[in-house]
Amino acid sequence: MPIETTNYMLLGFAVAFITIGLHLVSFPLRTRNLKADLQALETVPKASAKATGKKTVAKKAAAKKAAPKKAAKKAAKKVAKKTAKKTAKRTARR
């Protein structure tokens, strides 16, 4: 006949799963705190730039990213204008 040790088993299970549970709960909490920090840090340079009138790092990066897109748009507009002129000339000749 085994000795009665059910309470110890339950205690062991409780400790193990509470520890795992606390570790699991810490993930969304830490993520939330870090995201709040991230937002705060992203707004700090914007606010300081507004105050000083300088471009922020984020704005500069956005401008850099947007630069090739602007050039491509200009080129596309030029091509469209040229083709429109050509078609107009052709129709005039006819």
Binding site: E4, T5, Y8, G12, F13, A16, T19, F27, L34, K35
Partner: protein
């Protein structure tokens, strides 16, 4: 790391979350209902399945952290440091579970919560060494210095893992030898019935997959923390 990869959880991680939850539920079922009750110790012996599985995962991830430490020293990359820290945090959590379940089992089995047994002492030293790692890291501000220090520390601290594993063969101990109990150098043997062995192997698998899932989540958290730190450094003009 781009914000999109941080915000969006990968589909594989979603699948792993579900798989590990199901495996853990199945483990609890097997431990409580499939495995037979031990003849002498009774119900408390069921803690053995959690105890061994958590010891296995903690030792595996701590060794992985040491390997990552070597990799970092050869090729210093921030992401390697993030993985190493995640490994050590997970190893600490599992080592804590291992030691506490062991102490709770020891109370009815050895009639004491704590004894100066070589396995118990070496495992506690392991926990303290890695706790010191987490605390010391907090004290270094420069990320590169911190990562280099962490890599060297993780390599040095990994000595405690084989020391803990082999302690029951090196010194006379009360602790039963589960893996390789047929070895003549083993002090105590541990015979298991087939359902007990199945439960042990299943819990090892479930804890390993669950451990990997937690590791992945922790690494994602590390990426986010790294991004915050980079922005903070930029804001401070360093």
């Amino acid at each position: 790391m781009a914000s999109t990869s941080l915000d969006r959880k990968p589909r594989a991680l979603h699948v792993l979350d579900i798989v590990s939850a199901l495996l853990m539920a199945a483990t609890i079922y097997m431990v409580l209902f499939y495995a037979p009750t031990e003849r002498v110790m009774g119900q408390v012996q069921r803690l053995f399945y959690l105890h061994v599985a958590s010891a296995w995962v903690s030792m595996a991830v701590l060794i992985l952290a040491a390997i990552l430490g070597i990799v970092y020293l050869v090729r210093p990359q921030n992401k390697i440091d993030i993985w190493a820290v995640a490994c050590i945090e997970l190893g600490l959590v599992y080592a804590f579970i291992c030691v506490t379940t062991g102490a709770i089992w020891a109370r009815p089995a050895w009639n004491t919560w704590w004894t100066w047994d070589p396995r118990v002492v070496t495992f506690t030293i392991l926990i303290l060494v890695y706790l010191a790692y987490m605390l010391l890291r907090q004290g270094i501000e420069d990320p590169q210095r911190r990562a280099r220090f962490g890599a060297i520390y993780a390599i040095m601290a990994s000595v405690t893992v084989p020391l803990t594993y082999f302690s029951i063969r090196i010194w006379r101990t009360l602790h039963p030898v589960v893996i390789g109990s047929g070895d003549p150098s083993a002090q105590g043997t541990f015979d298991m019935t087939r359902p007990m062995l199945h439960t042990l192997l299943f819990s090892l698998l479930a804890f390993s997959i669950f451990g990997f899932t937690l590791l992945w989540h922790r690494v994602r958290l590390g990426w986010l923390a790294d991004r915050v730190e980079q922005l903070r450094m930029k804001a401070l003009g360093r």
